[in-house]
C-alpha cells in the first residue's frame, strides 16, 4: 500500500479539462493527482524560415513552472535571465514526443507551439504535460480543419501519445510517482508510448544504485499499463464523454 492508498500499479486520479483557455486554438488543464499543468496549443499558418517551401508543418513545445508551483518558491527563469538545463531538457522531450504522432506533410505549412505551464507540481509534471499537450494539439488541429488551414481530408495525427513515470521504491516497481515517492526512488523512468503501444521515449536513470535488466523490464511493463489507461482517458475526453 502506498502513502496515498494506491496499489503499486495504480495511476493517481486523472482529470483533463478541455478548452480551459478561451484564447488558444486548443487547450487542456490536466491533473495527475495534485500535479496541475495548463497545456495550450497555438496554431498559426506558416513555418520557421528553415522549413519554408517544403510543404511540411512544425510542432514544438515549451515547458515552464510557475515560481510557486512547488513547495518552496523558485526564482523565475525570466528574472535569472536564462533557462535552466532541466527546463530545456523537458521542453525538448515534449516536442519530440508530440512530433512522433504527427504527419508533418498532412499538417501542411502550419506551426503548432505547445505551451505546458505547471501551475502546481507534485511529481510527474513532464508526463502530465505530454499527456495534456496531446489533447490540446488534437483540438487545435480540429480547429484548423474548421478554419480551413488544413484540408478536411488530411489527417495530421497518426496516433495518440501519452506518458507516465515509473520507479523502484524499496525494491518495488511503482506507477505514476508523486513528489514524495519520486525523491525516494532508486530508479526513475519516464516512458512515452503511443496509443498503439509502441515506445516513443524511454528515459531511465539510476538515482541510487544502478539497475539490472529484470528491473528495467518490470518498469517497462508498468509503464505500458499506465499509458494504455491514459490513452483511454484521452480518447474519452476528446469524444466528449
Amino acid at each position: 500500500m502506498r502513502a496515498d492508498g494506491r496499489t503499486p500499479d495504480q495511476l493517481r486520479s486523472i482529470s483533463i479539462t478541455r478548452g480551459w483557455s478561451k484564447q488558444a486554438e486548443g487547450s487542456a488543464l490536466i491533473e495527475f493527482g495534485n500535479t496541475r499543468v495548463l497545456c495550450t496549443a497555438s496554431l498559426t499558418a506558416g513555418v520557421p524560415r528553415w522549413l519554408k517551401g517544403e510543404g511540411k508543418g512544425w510542432v514544438t513545445a515549451e515547458y515552464a513552472m510557475l515560481p510557486r508551483a512547488t513547495n518552496t518558491r523558485n526564482d523565475r527563469e525570466s528574472v535569472k535571465g536564462k533557462i535552466g538545463g532541466r527546463t530545456h531538457e523537458i521542453s525538448r522531450l515534449i516536442g519530440r514526443s508530440l512530433r512522433s504522432v504527427i504527419d508533418t506533410r498532412a499538417l501542411g505549412e502550419n506551426t503548432v507551439v505547445l505551451d505546458c505551464d505547471v501551475l502546481q507540481a507534485d511529481g510527474g509534471t513532464r508526463t502530465a504535460a505530454i499527456t495534456g499537450a496531446y489533447v490540446a494539439l488534437a483540438d487545435a488541429l480540429a480547429w484548423a480543419k474548421e478554419n480551413k488551414l488544413i484540408a478536411r481530408t488530411a489527417e495530421p495525427l497518426v496516433d495518440t501519445v501519452a506518458a507516465v513515470s515509473v520507479g523502484i521504491i524499496d525494491g518495488v516497481p511503482m506507477l505514476d510517482l508523486p513528489y514524495v515517492e519520486d525523491v525516494r526512488a532508486e530508479t526513475d523512468m519516464n516512458v512515452v508510448v503511443t496509443g498503439s503501444g509502441k515506445f516513443v521515449e524511454v528515459q531511465g536513470t539510476a538515482e541510487g544504485a544502478p539497475f539490472d535488466r529484470a528491473e528495467l523490464d518490470a518498469l517497462l511493463d508498468l509503464a505500458l499499463l499506465g499509458t494504455s489507461e491514459l490513452a483511454e482517458i484521452q480518447r474519452r475526453t476528446l469524444a466528449g464523454q
Copy 2:
C-alpha cells in the same frame, strides 16, 4: 450600453477563488470577466540582506503572463533572456500597492513574495492582480500567525487595497475596461485605492488626445466607485461568504 451589456459604471463579473494553490501560504485565482490571474503569496522567515536587523519585514511582487494568455502568442521572457519594460513596470506597481497597506514592523523580519501570473488576459490584468494579491497576502499572514511566525496580537495589515481601470471611450468615462475597450480608450487610468477610500496610486495616460481636469475628475469618481465594490467582494471572500 457596452458591447458586453454593462452600463458605464458597472464592473465585470468578479470571482475570487481562495486557496487555489495547495503549495503557497496564501493564494487566489481572481477573475475580472475573462481576465484570470493566479496570485500566490510565499511567506518565509527572514528578510533580504539590506534589511537585516531592522525588525521590519518586506513585501515584493512579480507579475508575468503565460505566453498564450493573450489572443496571439507572445514569446516567453525567459526565452528572450530579459524582462520587458511593461512587466517590470507592473511588478513594481503591484509591490508598491501591497506595501501601502502593510505595517512592516508588525510583519516582523519576514518576507512575502506575491506572484501574479496571468493565465488568461482580457484587459485589466494589473488591477485584477493587485486585487487578488491582497487576498493571497491576507491568507498568508493568517497562516503566519497560526504558525507563530507573526505574533497573534500583531496586525501587519492596516487596510485593504484594490484596483480598477477606468477610461474614456467615445467621450464617455467607463469602469473596468476589457481588451476591446482598452484599445479604443482615448484616456486610460489605473487607480489603486484602500478600503478606507484613499489613493495609493493614480496612473493616467492619454492614449489619444490629452485630457482635461473635468475628465480626470470623472474618471477618479468612477474608480472610487469600482474599488469600493471590489473592497466589499474582498471582505466577503475573506469572511468565507
Copy 3:
C-alpha cells in the same frame, strides 16, 4: 521656506542649452537646479519594420543615468547585462509623453530617437528629461524641414509638452522636488502637461500614507502652475531669447 530658499510653489532655477551636441539633429542640456540631463534627438529617414508603408513616423525614447550621476556610484546597466525596471519605466514614460504632441502622419516615415542621459542627478530627472527632450525634438524637426525630410508645410508638432514633479512634505504640497525633498515626500507625483494645459500623464504614488482627493487636487494645481512656467521657458529658448 524650503532648504534651498524656495517657496512651495516655486521651480528651481531652470536652464536649457540648445545645440549642446554637435552630432545630433537636435539637442539640449537641461538643468533643473543641480539635475543635469543631456537630451539628443536622432532623426533618420525610415521607420521600424512593423510600421512600414503606413505613411506614419515614429518617436521613441531611452533614458539612462551615468554611474556617478548620483551621490554614490551605481553599477552600469551595460555591465550588469540588463536594464532595470526603473529605467524601462522612465524610458517608456518619456516616449509616450513626446508622442502625445506629435502628429505621426505629418512626421512622415521618419524616426526620432530621444536619448536622455542624466549627467548629474538631484531629483526630478524624468521631468527634466521630458522638458528637455521637447526642445531637442523641436530642433530635430526644424532640421528635417531644412533638409527636406519633412515638407515645409507639414506641422508634426501639435503642441508643446513639459513635466514637473510635485509632492507632499510634512503635509505641504510642494513643486519641483530635489533629492532631499523627494526622499521625505509622503506622496510623490509626476505630471506631464501640454502647452495648452491638458494632461498627458498623471502618475501619483503614496510613498508613505495614502492620499485623499483634496491632496490630489492641490498637487494637480501646483503641477499645472509649474508646467505652464516650463512651457514659457521652452518657448523663449526655441525663440532664441
Copy 4:
C-alpha cells in the same frame, strides 16, 4: 556490412590517450573513430556551499563543442550568450553517469569538475565523453591520493562506467553510430553501463517510427556488448597496457 566496413555489433576504433593535458589532475583524449573529445578532471579541495560540512564530495560535468568540431561551423555559445538545450542535457547526463560510480563519502569534501570538450565530432560525442571522463576521473583520484587530499585507504570509485550509442537503421540494430548512420537511424539510444553490467542511464528516442519491445531488447543487448568492451579498454588503459 556498414559504410565503414564494420559489422552491426562492432565498435569503431577506440583510442584513449591518458594525460593529454599537462595542466589537469587527470585527463584523457578519447577517440571513437573520428569523434575526438578532450576530457579533463579538475580536482580541488572543498565543496559547493550547499554541501559544506556533510563530509561528502561533489562531481559535476560540463560538455561543449568547439565551433568547427562539426562539418559546418556553429556559433559559439559564449558569443550567443546562452547555453543551448542540447549542451545542458548532455552535461547533466555526463555528471549523473560519473556520480553513479562515486562514493561521495569516500571522496571526502573535494570537488571534481569534468570538462568534456569535443574537438572533432562524428557521432557518439556524449558516449565518448562519458567513457573518457571516467579515465580522467580515475587519474585525478589517484593524484588526490598521492597528494593526500584523499586517504590512501579510501576508495571513492565503486565501479567503472562507460557508454555507447545504439540505433536501428533500415531495421537492423547497430552499435556505435557515426554521424552518417545517426542521421538515418529510426531509433537512437544512448546507454550508460557500469563495469559490473548494470544500467545507469537508458535514453531511447524514436527519431522516425516508434519502436516495439523486441527492438528495445535487441538494442539493449548490443549496448551491453559494446560497453563491456569499452570497460575492458578503460581497464587496460588505466593499467598502462
Copy 5:
C-alpha cells in the same frame, strides 16, 4: 596643413574643466577639440574581496559612449545586454594606464573607479579619457586626504600620466587625430606616457599597409612631444592656473 589648420605636430585645442560633477570625489570634463569626455573618480573605503587584508588599494576604469556621441546613433550596450569588444579593450587600457602611476600601498585599502563617458566623439576618445581621468583621480586623492581616508603624508601618485594618438596619413606622421583623419590613417597608434617621459602603453596598428621601423620611430617622437604638452596642461589645471 591639416583640414583644421593645424601643423602635423600640433595638438587640438585642449580644455579641462575640473569639478564638473558635484557628486563625485574628483571629476573633469576634458575636451580634445570636439571630443568631449566626462571623467569621474569615485573613491570609497575598502577593496574587492580578492585584495582584502593586503594593505593595498585598487584603481579600475570603465569607458562608455553615449549613443549619440557619434555622427550616427549607436545602440546602447545596456539595451544590447552586452558590452562590445572595443569598450572592454578601452576600459582595460585606461585602468592599466592609471594604475601605472599609483603606489597601491600608499593608497591603502581604498578603491577608485574611474568612469569615462564620452559625451561627444571626434577621434581620440581613449586618449582624452586617460588624460582627463588623471585629473579626476588626482582630485579624488586630494579629497581622500582631506577626509582622512589616506594619511596626509602618503603619496599614492608617483607620476602624472597622459595619452595621445598619432598616425600616418598620406605618408605624413601626424599628432592627435580627429575622426576625419583617423579613418584615413594607414597606421594608427595610441601612446600613454608618464610625466617623466616613459612609456606606459604603446599600441600601434597597421590599418592599411604594414609599417616599418622608421615610421614607428617618427610616430613615437610625435607622441612624446604631444604627451609632454598634455602633462603641462594637467599640471597647470591642477595648480588652478
Copy 6:
C-alpha cells in the same frame, strides 16, 4: 640562462601540425613549448550583409580558452553568459593581424572565420594563435581554389604573418615568454610582423615600471628576430617539409 635552458633570444620548441581537424577547410595544431592552440579556418561562400555586393571578402577570428587549459580551472564564458574583455581583445587582434595580409578583393565574396581554441596554455597563446591561424588560412584558401570558390589566378594572400611575445625580466629583454616568465615581466610586448619584416601590430604594456625608448628598441629587435624564424617555420610547414 633561462629556467627552461634557453638563451634570451631563443624561441621555445615550435611545432605546427597541419590538417589536425578533418572537418575544417584548413586547420593547424600549433605548439609554442607547452602552449597548444587548435586553429581552424572555416571558409564559406558569401559575406556578411553589410559587405554584400562590394566584390570583397571578409576574414574574422574568435579566440577562446578551454576551462582547464590553465593551471587552475576558469569558468566557461558560455556558462557566465558573457565574453570577457581579454577574450574580446585577443579575438580582435587576431582578426586584424590576418586581415593585414589579405587582399579582400582577390578573396572575392567569401568569408573565413578563424577559430583559435587554446587547449593548453603556457604563455604566448595569442601569438601562437596568430602564427597558427596563418597556416590554417593558407590551407583554406588553397582548398577554395581547388573547389573553385576562388579563381586559380587570384592571390588573396599578399604576405605571411606571425607573432611573438617579448618582455623585460630582471632588466634583460627576452623572447617568447612562457607563463612563469610572463608573470615576472616588467614590460610585456606582443608584436605581429609580416614575412617581409614590417609591423602589423605593436602592443607594449608596462606591467611594472614604465619603460624607456632604449628598452622599447631592444624589444622590437628581439621580436623581429623571433618572427623571422616563425615565418621560416610557416614556410617549411606549408611546403610540406
